[in-house]
Point group: C2
Chain length 92, copies 2
DNA sequence: TTCATTTGTCGCCGAACGCCGACATTGCTA
DNA sequence: TAGCAATGTCGGCGTTCGGCGACAAATGAA
């Protein structure tokens, strides 16, 4: 999922929390934060502290990845047919 | 690149900024933030505001993605050789 | 080296943080 | 419908934010 705003992160946190059957108080305890803070962040609080947000993603096992290569993450289907001629090749 | 701490994000921001030949003051102006703030964030300030960090990534065209599927983002190099037999195939 | 650019760090300010207790609202089940 | 758990929101508190000006420490070119 692509993330551009605090609301995106909040939505991802809420989804992951519900998938793991936690209420906000339980997640808050795991992260070491107040219950109300979880509520605000899930609703897209843009001024939340970066470190606490990262800790929350960690507590939910939500991986976060950053980088230039968004285009190369989608593999184009080539307009050519390919056939296997050998299975002895080594990796480059 | 996998992100778990504020230092990871700071490093990614610094790398992207240098790749685009911007100094901290120029990036700060783009983001709408003080020059010193860029300096602190690049050094891993964990209490920076989430919204400003996201705005910074945006200004640098650094995509951020969140979600379970990290494994399928890496494509394995197959241990087989491939050869083109036709160039008339159409996309599915 | 000298000089200019860039970056890191300090203190001061107003504003907002996150915590807590309390209460209103929502949602679900009996 | 009533009742309970979960969630949203308020005010007050102490702490820290980010902006700013200023200066020291890197970094690089002449």
């Amino acid at each position: 999922m692509q993330v551009r705003t605090a609301k995106d992160i909040g939505a991802a946190i809420r989804d992951a929390r519900k998938k793991r059957d936690l209420d906000q108080a339980e997640l808050a305890a795991k992260v070491g934060v107040g219950r109300q803070w979880i509520s605000e962040v899930e609703n897209g609080k843009p001024r939340a502290e970066l470190g606490l947000v990262l800790k929350t993603l960690d507590a939910l096992d939500l991986p976060l990845s950053i980088g230039e290569s968004l285009a190369s993450q989608t593999v184009e289907t080539p307009d050519i047919d390919l056939v296997i001629t050998s299975a002895t090749g080594a990796k480059p």
